[in-house]
Amino acid sequence: MKKIIIYIFIIVACGYAVREIIYGGLRENKFGIFDKYNTIFLKSNNYETLIIGSSRAESHFNCRIIDSVLKTNSYNIGIQGSSLPFSLDVFSAYLENSKFPRNIIFNIDYHINACDNDTVFMYPRYFPYLSNKTLFKALEKRDKRFFGFRYFPYYSLAFMGDNYFSAAMRGFFDMPGQYDKDYYKGSTPIKDVKWKYKPYYACDEAVMYDRIDSIAAICKRHNANLFLVLSPNYSKASGQILNGVSLIQKLKEKAISNNVVLLDYNSDNLCNDSVLFADPYHMNEKGANLFTKKFSEDLRAIWKK
């Protein structure tokens, strides 16, 4: 019996130790996705301009161009697969350790067909950052298993796999992974994939408008500038959003009522050129650079005013 208790203790202790080693390695990453997550959820930052949103924000706004055109210090906290409410939760988690930015560029994903859902895309990526209370609360609200992921090492390890192990080792040895070098201050281009789109109704739920109200109010309280952006979708895909026109109109009204600027690029010429898109809703590197330049110049003009 004594032997069994000792073994159980060793196994449990080893579980925690191994998990901490892996998390330690991931937190040591100075390149790529984990460097970005470290910045958002752990580090203390003081960026002047912050880009919020989903993968569209992550891929469409190149911080190198924004910094050079606007002479600002920006960071892109757009996260793949995040819904509009989750993007704002990520922003709140960012604020747990960092200063409130002066400018917030919020790319609204109006094209998605559900404003929020209970699943978190690639959820093991968040495991090393569950000490960030705001993030943990946001994740646990969506997926109850996060309690187990935080406190039971073998439960979380089972969902991670060797990709995380190799990323942790890369972190310890300062070696960038295959796609890590594509990241610059949180922004990264998207590679071309096969296209597919069909008619559908996009998200038109109260939660989307409520969240826009709430972030506008928070920005006002912190004396920060909020810019709502509808970055380009491929025009033929936009045409498939059956309630697209009325939705954009509602968003514009929402911007006016909150007294914030909304920049809509869905009628821009960029939307017509399929060569600039990796898929119907994501521009490729070339398209993203053209868009970021255009957007930065527009924003500079607004700032000048």
């Binding site: 019996m1 032997k3 069994i4 073994y7 060793i10 196994i11 080893c14 579980g15 191994v18 892996i22 073998y154 390890l157 089972a158 969902f159 991670m160 796999g161 060797d162 990709n163 192990f165 190799s166 295959q178």
Partner: protein, 473 residues
């Protein structure tokens, strides 16, 4: 319910705790209920089928015992065999036979024919029907006294650790253990957990990772060179071994938790140096089943030399068909049958000839690799395409490029490293080339080794796999 599924990790501790808490008179009842509950995870129809064949075999076995004349005994045995084989035929072979017939018809008169879609084979059907057949034959031969309690007999057929993928247990080995009243001692936990952990490691860390490399190659055979296809065959051979022997190890470990010792099913077959040796080490329970219930009734070695070789070939052919209802499996059986006979003839002609410098091991691995591709090929046509490519477009230069395009470098190197680790572990078991003092070994080295394995399962194991290869057999 799969061994590597979350429900099983809830089910097992509950069954284990209640089993040992219960009065030893009633433990077997709990084990029976647990076994049927375990099997019901695949569907109630499957449970009904299992229960039906159990009831039939139970009553027929009693009739065999009661029958006075040999002819009557034989008649009841034939009824039992027919029932079991009909179930196997209906679920496993009907579609194969129908479609083969339809294919022939199409060639004789050019009319369009309709092929049947494969019926879902009840999980473990081949295993428990073979166990029941063995029981009926043993009763007929007078080697066992039939069980009088139907529920106990049902437990023999359905004992959950070995129900769905063996080992196929003999009545004389399993039933006395199921009846024996034992007390729980903590020391019995350690070997049980050790063997189960090693089984989980083989299944989840080696087999399932190799599957991620093997599957894309065999799904797109036209994209790969012959050298890569042959290499994929080797990986598949290791995958099948780790998948199936991993299952057996888990089953053995789980059975040990209930004080039951299952029979040895695998004895490091990939370290064999000839096909004859391979079949003494590989899937031992089913090999001995074929020897006892097919090869010996055919006359064994007490027939003419030519007939003896033919019997062996026939046994391998049927064994191939047992593995799967497809011509590729028949071909696999034929390949093994032919080579086994060649080895026998060779050994007779040159009794003192010995393979040197590991050549026997290389020969066996190469043959096993080539033949097991028949297990994995989607169809006979695919199989011939693969063999043709291995001969005609064997380009070793393309191997590295094609293999490393499958996944990231770390993942591939790790999987290949795991094969080396498996080889070293098996070699150590076989030859004890590393000698560690017993006290250090049992107090420190062995616990540390298995704790590392346990952690590795969580670190590198594939928790998304939902199949064991041998379930389909």
């Amino acid at each position: 319910m799969l061994f590597n599924s979350f429900p099983f990790f809830i089910f097992l501790p509950i069954a284990f705790i209640f089993y040992w808490l219960l009065n030893d008179k009633y433990r077997w009842i709990l084990l029976l209920a647990a076994s049927y509950y375990f099997y019901s995870g695949w569907g109630l129809w499957y449970v009904m089928l299992l229960a039906s064949t159990t009831i039939i075999d139970y009553f027929i076995a009693l009739q065999i015992e009661k029958a006075v004349s040999k002819q009557k005994k034989k008649l009841f045995l034939i009824i039992s065999l027919s029932c079991n084989l009909l179930v196997l035929l209906g679920f496993k072979y009907f579609t194969f036979l129908f479609n083969s017939g339809a294919f022939l018809m199409q060639h004789f008169d050019n009319n369009e024919v309709h092929y049947l879609a494969q019926i879902v084979i009840p999980v473990g059907l081949s295993f428990y029907t073979f166990q029941s057949i063995a029981y009926s034959i043993d009763v007929y031969r007078g080697e066992v006294i039939p069980e009088k309690n139907i529920a106990r007999f049902a437990l023999f057929v359905s004992f959950f650790p070995q129900l769905v993928a063996g080992p196929v247990e003999r009545f004389n080995n399993l039933m006395p253990q199921l009846k024996k009243r034992t007390n729980f001692v903590f020391e019995m936990l350690f070997p049980a957990i050790r063997i189960a952990v090693w089984g989980f490691f083989k299944k989840m860390v080696i087999a399932d990772r190799l599957a991620e490399m093997v599957d894309p190659i065999f799904k797109n055979i036209h994209l790969y060179s012959g050298s890569t296809l042959l290499f994929a065959g080797f990986l598949f051979a290791v995958q099948v071994y780790c998948d199936f022997s991993g299952y057996t190890d888990i089953a053995t470990g789980v059975a040990k938790l209930f004080g039951i010792q299952l029979s040895l099913n695998w004895r490091r077959p990939l370290l064999s140096s000839s096909l004859i040796e391979f079949w003494k080490r590989n899937h031992i329970s089913i090999t001995s089943w074929f020897r006892n219930y097919l090869y010996i009734p055919l006359g064994g070695n007490k027939v003419s030399y030519g007939r003896w070789l033919f019997n062996i070939f026939l046994v391998f052919l049927i064994s191939g068909l047992w593995h799967g209802a497809s011509w590729t499996f028949v071909l696999w059986g034929a390949m093994h049958g032919v080579l086994y006979c060649i080895e026998l003839v060779f050994n007779k002609k040159f009794p003192n000839l010995k393979w040197r410098f590991g050549l026997g091991h290389v020969y066996l691995l190469l043959f096993h690799t080539v033949s097991i591709i028949a297990f994995r090929a989607a169809s006979s046509v695919d199989l011939f395409v693969i063999y043709h490519k291995i001969i005609s477009s064997f380009n070793i230069g393309l191997l590295g490029k094609e293999v490393f395009s499958l996944s990231d470098t770390f993942s591939i190197l790790f999987s290949l490293g795991m094969i080396l680790f498996l080889f070293m572990k098996e070699l150590q078991e076989e030859t004890s080339f590393i000698r560690i003092p017993t006290v250090i070994f049992s107090n420190y080295f062995r616990p540390a080794f298995y704790i590392c394995l346990f952690i590795s399962i969580f670190l590198f194991g594939n928790f998304n796999s939902n199949q064991f290869i041998y379930f389909r057999f």
